[in-house]
Symmetry: C2
Subunit: 421 residues, 2 copies
């Protein structure tokens, strides 16, 4: 019998991609836009979603680039856009079906279907070796969107964590890392301030302050140079604070975590929807099995004239069976839609996280290079603080010092003479 | 009358330096080697030490150079020898005496002598403007031997301190200065050790240790560089200790103070001897005055026939007077000998102190330059510790890091496919 709500157009004899339909089968399109096929003799129906064509990957990546997150989050630097590889093939969900053979009408219902897929945690994967070979979406890039489809089992094997969670945790850990780096820099700052304080204090020491002349000048400058060194280290620590520590603390602020949560909730919701759709499929599958069993039982009873069931009863059972089949097809299609949606969001979001990680690494690299620059500067300034001391030490002149001291301290330059009688 | 103990040679008629004797005067040499002159008519005698000729300064300086201290004290570096200026005139003790004129015998004893000299604290100086002009022993050198002849009065004016003491105190102060400098360096060493300890401790921090990949490597090296810096500062402090502090502490050791004490005692003893000689002169002067007064009184008494003193008494009085005169001359000559001795020792020893001071200044200069050299080195080493960090930061590669991390953490690369019915 005809499925309900069918389009009035004549059923085509080809599939959407041009392949001819197997003999005896016709295709129809439901109002939801789902295509289904009916076997004119057995009246079996089966549903099939249109296969995703080769243009979809580009469509996905294009949508990712125009997303509000395409240029990174608050305060991050602009990084290079992820490369779009042309001609990447997305998955081709395939549905192989054996054409009906010359079998008894009852047996035609039962089809030998080889197990080619497996559903784990409500996500459907091809079994190894089955189906067309999958190419990486972004070959040679080790992209997040290629490697995190499966849920990860925890060591005990009791629960599992979505691959996406692993990516999210990495970003949260990155935030933790920048905080710890800031702390490390802070500790360095404290050490520098302590050192500067000690040098400054010692530079004020009156030790050997009584040394005079050119040697005294050199010594005074030597003591002063400690204060100059202290200034250099203080400057270093101040710059460390403003140019490295503070940026590390404020990079990506609080909004970052909120954004990550949004991603998290979004993807998690889609998984929940998928789980719900899957539950629906299981339910419909069971209902169909019950209906088919009922029909089979009733048919058998008729054949062996076991009961007084009329043809009418069988027709009712067959109708219910077909309806259950329709329901199943609809549930499967809704599930596949939802899975596709989740898939798209996964690709988009994981590439967003990937870009955030690139930005994080480059930002940190830049600021740590600022640290080494400041270190270089500090050592150079420090060296220059020794110059004046060197200069004065070169000018130390014992003769000059004697002149200065003697002028200051002489007692009398008139020499003794013989006494007269 | 002839003075006792005279040489048997005929009295010469010229002075030692070839100048002719004034008329009526003859010269004799006593066993002590002292030359004296006798006026044949008045029988006056006068003593005169041979005047120090122009060769004496060289003799003095030559003796100074060959002294055991000529090459400095224990452990000091060889410095340049004090310059010997040729033709330097030492003092010329002069004794101006009016030749006896046509005066009454009595009056011939009393001579109008203009005050040309003054004895202060037992040391005899020419009065300002009197006597031949004194040239500096070592012109343009501000030498110790030219400027410390007078005793220094203390501010209250109660006691005085020998010029030599001032020179000695300077050397003792110099020893104090080197001790204080060593202390200063010690404080710097402690500061460096503290800094090194803090850096080393921080370098072991586990902060951000979970950062992985090329960024993690750079971060690890950055942390390690703190330990390298610590090592540099530790090396600096160790070298400061062995190459600056310790030498400053041990330069000139304890023997130095002992040597200074020896000089002190030696010169002080000579001053004491001089004081003693001076006391002798004062005593002899007083005795002579007494004798002369006695003679005068007796002569007057004879003239006015006041007493029954005979010619014999007057001859006795005159004899005693002459003896007293001889005594005085001897005392004055001994005094002048002692003063000359002290003078020579003053020149020798003050130049020794001068040399010690030159050595002290140059030695300290050398070791403080060592300090600045170590500072330079330290800054250069420190700078080089940043190099490897810089290098690794340049190599930070987000792509590589993603590859490493994805390989390590991927959950599954098989993408989901549509579910079949």
């Amino acid at each position: 019998m005809k499925p309900a709500a069918v389009s009035s157009a004549a059923p085509p004899r080809e599939e959407t991609d041009g392949r001819p339909l197997p003999p005896g089968w016709r295709s129809y399109t439901s109002p939801e836009g789902l295509r289904y096929y009916v076997n004119s003799s057995s009246k079996e129906t089966t549903w099939r979603r249109p296969s995703l064509s080769a243009e979809s990957p580009q469509r996905l990546l294009a949508r990712h680039n125009s997303s509000p997150y395409a240029n990174g989050c608050h305060g991050s630097t602009k990084t290079s856009q992820p490369k779009e590889t042309a001609g990447v093939a997305l998955r081709k969900p395939s549905m192989d079906k054996q054409p009906a053979g010359s079998v008894s009408p009852a047996k035609r219902q039962i089809r030998e279907v080889k197990e080619t897929k497996i559903t784990i945690n409500c996500v459907t994967f091809p079994l190894p070796g089955e189906g067309p070979e999958q190419q990486l979406l972004k070959p040679n890039e080790w992209s997040y969107c290629d490697y995190f489809w499966t849920d990860k089992k925890d060591p005990q094997g009791t629960t599992s964590v979505a691959g996406f969670e692993v990516l999210l945790q990495k970003q949260l850990k990155g935030k933790q890392m920048q905080k710890e780096m800031a702390e490390f820099i802070h500790e360095r700052i404290k050490i520098e301030e302590e050192y500067a304080k000690n040098l400054s204090k010692l530079s004020l020491s009156p030790l050997a302050a009584q040394e005079e002349g050119t040697l005294g000048e050199a010594w005074t400058q030597l003591k002063k140079s400690l204060h100059d060194e202290a200034e250099v280290h203080l400057k270093f620590s101040n710059k460390l604070h403003t140019e490295v520590e503070k940026p590390l603390l404020t990079f990506r602020g609080d909004n970052f975590k909120k954004d990550l949560k949004k991603y998290d909730h979004h993807i998690t919701d889609l998984r929940k929807q998928l789980a719900s759709r899957y539950a629906g499929v299981e339910k419909a599958r069971k209902a169909l099995a019950d209906r088919q069993k009922d029909l089979e039982v009733k048919t058998q009873q008729l054949e062996i004239k076991l009961s007084n069931k009329t043809e009418e009863d069988i027709k009712k059972a067959r109708r219910k069976s077909t309806q259950a089949g329709d329901d199943l097809m609809r549930c499967v299609d809704l599930y596949n839609q939802t899975q596709s949606k989740w898939f798209e969001e996964m690709v988009t979001t994981s590439m967003e996280l990937e870009k955030l990680e690139v930005e994080r690494i480059e930002w940190i690299q830049q600021h740590l290079r600022q640290y080494t620059t400041l270190r270089h500067e500090t050592d150079m300034f420090n060296q220059s603080m020794v110059e004046p001391v060197d200069q004065l030490l070169q000018n130390v002149d014992p003769g000059k010092d004697r002149e200065l001291w003697v002028k200051e301290n002489k007692t009398g330059d008139v020499r003794p003479v013989d006494m007269d009688i």
